[in-house]
């Protein structure tokens, strides 16, 4: 296995310096997160930010010179929000990279195969029809449930119609996605129109609902699913070569494809449940990473996770500071900034 050159991209000197690059990006991520906690609609000086954080970690370490409201903004609103942003960014980028490998489709992303439309349907049902009968956890639970049910449907239909090869899995996913999206639209149509604003907001994505109590779930999903994907990076490399090649390398192709698909659904479901449908990150970040370091998934996966995290935290800073005190839906920012950035990047790397 180790002698197979499974790298589809150029062989850069960069490849041998992976730990260094990971460390640099990790540092950049922390720096971005620190900046994100300091910035927002309410201007809070950095020393106050640090004071609040220090005081919560080590009670009594700093003299309190700020109001209770400021303390809450930093500790209860911004910090969980920034951590959630980084978690979601990493999750979506990982999912995009993995799905692009198992479907061998450049345009595969977390929202292509019906996973997100299922989550959105779950949210629509709660927000417009049943109400929050389980309290604050209702929407995330239903969104997650919707994502998993839709995934189960895609897997079932794909197996039933013997469409588990790469291209037909995409077609099945897209078909189911259309059906589920229509059901979601019907749910919005039948619901109260002013409450429909809630759903629209949710479908554009945002990090405004973040709180400490909910953070463990998306973090746990990222940890488990991320480890699984990283451990199978070589298999993903093989999948990009085609089913025959992967089979000769001893990979149970059809089963592996379905397992990765379900793992991606878990991770996407957890992300969408807490932050709505955030587009672009899952689709483009892996491409950007591949443009720089080539196609070896042992590098693409960890770098995508870090770049995705940095990107989403930056996007959230923009969402919160462009027209204060209002939050622009983060999906709007990711689409605009990301699209332009990607076009610029592809132009630069045009073969001459």
């Amino acid at each position: 296995m180790s002698h197979h050159h499974l790298v589809a991209g150029p062989r850069h000197a960069i490849l041998h310096q992976l730990p260094l690059i990971l460390a640099a990006l990790a540092f950049l991520l922390v720096a971005t997160m620190v900046a994100a906690v300091s910035l927002g609609s309410v201007a809070i000086p950095p020393e106050t930010v640090w004071g609040v954080i220090a005081n919560h970690l080590f009670p009594g370490s700093v003299e309190v010179t700020w109001s209770g409201g400021r303390d809450n903004i930093v500790w209860e609103v911004r910090l969980p929000r920034v951590i959630l942003g980084a978690t979601i960014g990493a999750s979506l980028a990982l999912v995009g990279a993995a799905l692009q490998a198992i479907t061998r489709n450049q345009l595969a992303d977390p929202h292509l195969l019906g996973i997100s439309s299922g989550a959105a349907l779950g949210a629509v049902i709660v927000l417009l029809h049943t109400g929050m009968f389980l309290g604050l956890a209702t929407v995330p639970l239903f969104a997650f449930g919707g994502a998993l049910l839709t995934t189960a449907l895609v897997v079932f239909v794909a197996n039933f119609s013997d469409a588990t090869d790469a291209s037909r899995l995409v077609l099945t996913g897209v078909a189911i996605s259309f059906v589920v999206t229509s059901l979601g639209s019907l749910g919005i149509f039948l619901g109260d129109p002013r409450a429909a604003h809630t759903v629209i907001f949710w479908m554009l994505g945002g990090l405004g609902l973040s709180q400490w109590a909910q953070l463990p779930y998306p973090l746990l999903a990222l940890l488990c699913c991320g480890c699984y994907l990283l451990a199978n990076a070589r298999h993903l490399n093989a999948m990009t070569l085609g089913d025959e090649s992967a089979t000769t390398l001893g990979i149970p192709v059809r089963r592996f494809r379905m397992v990765v698909f379900v793992v991606c659904a878990l991770l996407t479901g957890a992300a969408v449940a807490f932050a709505g449908v955030i587009s672009f990150v899952g689709l483009m970040i892996p491409h950007i990473v591949r443009l720089v370091v080539g196609g070896d998934y042992r590098r693409v996966l960890p770098l995508s996770a870090l770049v995705g995290a940095i990107f989403l935290v930056l996007a959230d800073i923009a969402a919160r500071t462009i027209i204060p005190p209002q939050d622009i839906p983060i999906g709007v920012i990711t689409g605009l900034v990301g699209g332009v950035f990607f076009v610029a990047l592809t132009r630069k790397r045009k073969p001459r």
Binding site: S41, V42, R70, I73, H197, T198, G208
Partner: protein, 314 residues
């Protein structure tokens, strides 16, 4: 507004003296029981009608600002003069950061009046920050079952605010004044055939109107008419034009706010051949209510009188 304040001026002194000892008080807000150990001192209200309720009770000195007005351009001269010293903290619905940044201890809002079901600002999401929420009664339909809208809903909000802020004498005097005013007015109202009324809020492709649980249904009834859409099991709701044509309203009430002016809304209805046989359009029977008159608030009484005058203008 002005009338109300002259009416209760003599009672002011008595009210402030008697009320402080009443806390803790418990009020019902939609499907919750909320207890206040002391009157809030850093309140924020969202939207013009809710802000006006606060001002009618003379609570501006207990407020640190208001939100959710500029986005819809619904601030008129009367209100502007009254909120003069208060900042608008957010032109649209506030985020949690806005409320925390102002160190608020109280948020007067409603569902789709500054809070969205499942949104980031809800009574539950603010509770851990010590920000109590009182919800506009009309908007409770979004989170629970309710009877048809009534002018009593607006009274209930004023009385509850009175309890919360320890100005219940003032609130009771105000509401009693409204009740008396309305009773005197109704007694002189000629009871002919109740005209069918269509509430036109906005929308061209589909009209946005007031259903069974929205305040205009109660206002139209108090004025001696009937909302032709009072069987629609919703508050503010989007319907189809066919139902409007089918139900043949004799009067159209325009809710005036936002980008499209009342004249433009009237012109739209007059210019559309589909509406040419609707009695209201044929006879040019349009009444314009300002947003702040059509939503629950102190101007509802004047709105009822204006509607009644129009209904009886034959």
């Amino acid at each position: 507004m002005k009338r109300a304040s002259t009416l209760i001026a003599p009672l002011l002194l008595a009210a402030t003296a008697a009320s402080v000892a009443a806390h803790p008080v418990t009020v019902t807000s939609c499907d919750r029981e909320v207890t206040f150990d002391a009157p809030p001192s850093r309140a924020i209200s969202n939207d013009v009608n809710l802000t006006e309720m606060m001002l009618a009770l003379g609570l501006s000195d207990r407020m640190v600002g208001y939100t959710g007005v500029s986005e819809w351009k619904t601030l008129d001269e009367t209100l502007r003069a009254n909120v003069d010293q208060l900042p608008e903290l957010s032109p649209d619905y506030p985020t949690r950061e806005v409320l925390l940044g102002a160190d608020a201890d109280f948020y007067f809002a409603g569902w789709n009046y500054g809070m969205r079901v499942g949104g980031e600002v809800t009574p539950q999401s603010l509770a851990s920050f010590g920000i109590a929420v009182y919800e506009l009664t009309e908007s409770c339909i979004h989170v629970m079952k309710r009877p048809k809208s009534s002018i009593e809903d607006m009274y209930a909000d004023l009385l509850n605010l009175g309890l919360i802020f320890g100005v219940e004498d003032k609130a009771e005097a105000l509401v009693e004044g409204y009740r008396q005013e309305l009773a005197d007015f109704s007694a002189n109202l000629s009871h002919g055939e109740a005209p069918g009324v269509f509430i036109y809020d906005s929308g061209e492709n589909k009209p946005f109107t007031a259903g069974r649980y929205a305040m205009p249904t109660a206002l139209v009834e108090a004025a001696g008419g009937v909302n032709i859409m009072d069987d629609v099991e919703s508050s503010w709701v989007e319907i189809g034009w066919e139902a409007v044509i089918e139900r043949n309203p004799e009067i159209v009430v325009i809710v005036n706010y936002g980008e499209v002016s009342a004249d433009q809304k009237i012109a739209f209805m007059k210019d559309n051949p589909a509406f040419k046989d609707i009695p209201a359009v044929r006879n040019d029977r349009f009444v314009v209510l300002e947003y702040v008159e059509a939503t629950p608030g102190p101007r509802n009484i004047a709105a009822i009188k204006r509607l009644a005058a129009e209904f009886n203008a034959n």
